[in-house]
């Protein structure tokens, strides 16, 4: 499958994300001739262990995530980032986890927005908001390069595309920028050939960044 980079919006110190930035980013994609195609959606859930004694929660992973990605609607991905585990499962695994009653949802986020075609690139811009709420918590962007599946072979063209993109965004003087953090996929046992498990790992990184950003804002306020 085609490879992609998942980027997240990193607000400048002291600023926060807002819907005006999201709308400017969407306009920016259209200004470089991105053709709007339709909606997309991904979900990410942070689980917490269901322990009989709250003090015992430390025995269990605190970074256990479940991810659904737009390109594989019938699959679900589990990630424990601290232990570098990513698992691909049929989406029925969610029913199994509910029946086991060993972990419950701590935070559930939706990533949704519009998809754009731009030559051989496919862009997905989306807002991050808690399930059952419209509160904007972040902005994500997926950049997919359709002709190539090898992460290494596409590195140069992806880098070049991002330069053009950052230049287009910078003209709007928005209080922040898109960041791309490339995980060490080999640590997760993933090869150079791109799969949806790579996408799930990238979402886990984005989730960690969002949490870090929220915590940083809270610590400044306090």
């Amino acid at each position: 499958m085609p490879l992609k980079w998942v980027l997240h919006w990193q607000p400048n110190a002291g600023s926060t994300v807002n819907s005006q930035i999201l709308s400017e980013v969407s306009q920016c994609v259209e200004s470089i001739n991105g053709l709007k195609q339709g909606r997309w959606k991904a979900t990410i859930t942070l689980y917490k262990p269901h322990t009989r004694e709250p003090s015992l929660a430390a025995e269990f992973p605190r970074d256990f995530l479940g991810v659904s990605v737009p390109e594989q609607p019938n699959k679900y991905y589990f990630i424990i980032r601290g232990q570098r585990i990513v698992l691909e499962a049929d989406s029925s695994i969610q029913t199994i986890m509910e029946k086991l009653q060993s972990y419950k949802t701590r935070i559930a986020l939706n990533f949704d927005g519009f998809q754009y075609q731009l030559g051989d690139f496919q862009l997905r811009v989306g807002k991050v908001s808690p399930t059952h709420s419209e509160n904007l918590r972040g902005i994500v962007m997926e950049v997919e390069y359709l002709p190539i599946s090898s992460m290494e072979k596409a590195r140069q063209i992806m880098g070049e595309f991002l330069e053009i993109w950052q230049e287009a965004v910078s003209k709007r003087s928005l209080p922040g920028q898109f960041m791309h953090i490339e995980p060490n996929f080999a640590e997760y046992g993933l090869a150079d050939h791109y799969t949806s498990q790579h996408t799930a790992v990238q979402y886990a990184i984005v989730m960690a960044q969002l949490i870090a950003t929220v915590q940083a804002v809270q610590s400044v306020r306090n």
């Binding site: 262990p49 269901h50 322990t51 009989r52 004694e53 015992l56 025995e59 269990f60 992973p61 256990f64 589990f78 424990i80 232990q83 585990i85 990513v86 698992l87 691909e88 499962a89 049929d90 989406s91 029925s92 695994i93 029913t95 199994i96 029946k99 086991l100 009653q101 060993s102 972990y103 046992g189 498990q197």
Partner: protein, 217 residues
Amino acid sequence: MECVVQGIIETQHVEALEILLQGLCGVLKERLRIHEICLKSGPNLGAVASEVRLLCDLEQPEPTWTVRHIGGAMRGAGAEQISVLVRTMVESKVSKNVLRLFYALGYKLDHELLRVGFAFHFQRGAQITVTVSSVNKMLKLHATDEAVPVTPGIQMVEVTAPASAENYTEVVSAVSSFCEYLAPLLHLSKPGISTGVVPTAAAAAASLMSDGGGTTL
């Protein structure tokens, strides 16, 4: 949901059962070699103690993994009266690192088994699967090559069919009526209610072996 019945048969009559099943189902058997790992939640994890099974299909060129959760059996007067167990069952195919994930989540190995035998999958009023297998235990952790039978000379037969809350009565009757065809060789009942081997098995097997399953029992 699924409907399920189980029974046992002496290994010496398995060939006759295979001939009978082949005649009844009209499909070819599939070889079965499943490594089953049963995990239980650690003492401090979960609102209730939980159990999950990881099945590794060793017959595939590249072994495939499935997570299976078996839930509670249907209860009530209606469920008591029928001869088939109806229970919730959910499966999910997963990538091969599933054991590592469940260990990381706080699940512990309870026991593991190796089932070796064959299966028939066919449509007969319901999507029925019949498995005939010897159940083996491992002397060393995960050593499927050195497995030994739990009950030498005895094999387990299981008949299952997927069902839903809407259609389970039809599925139950399809499974029950199919089981009647097997009655001379083995008796099938709800899991946990063992009825042993049937006295007519030897005679029925001899008859099947002599005419290749051509005669209706």
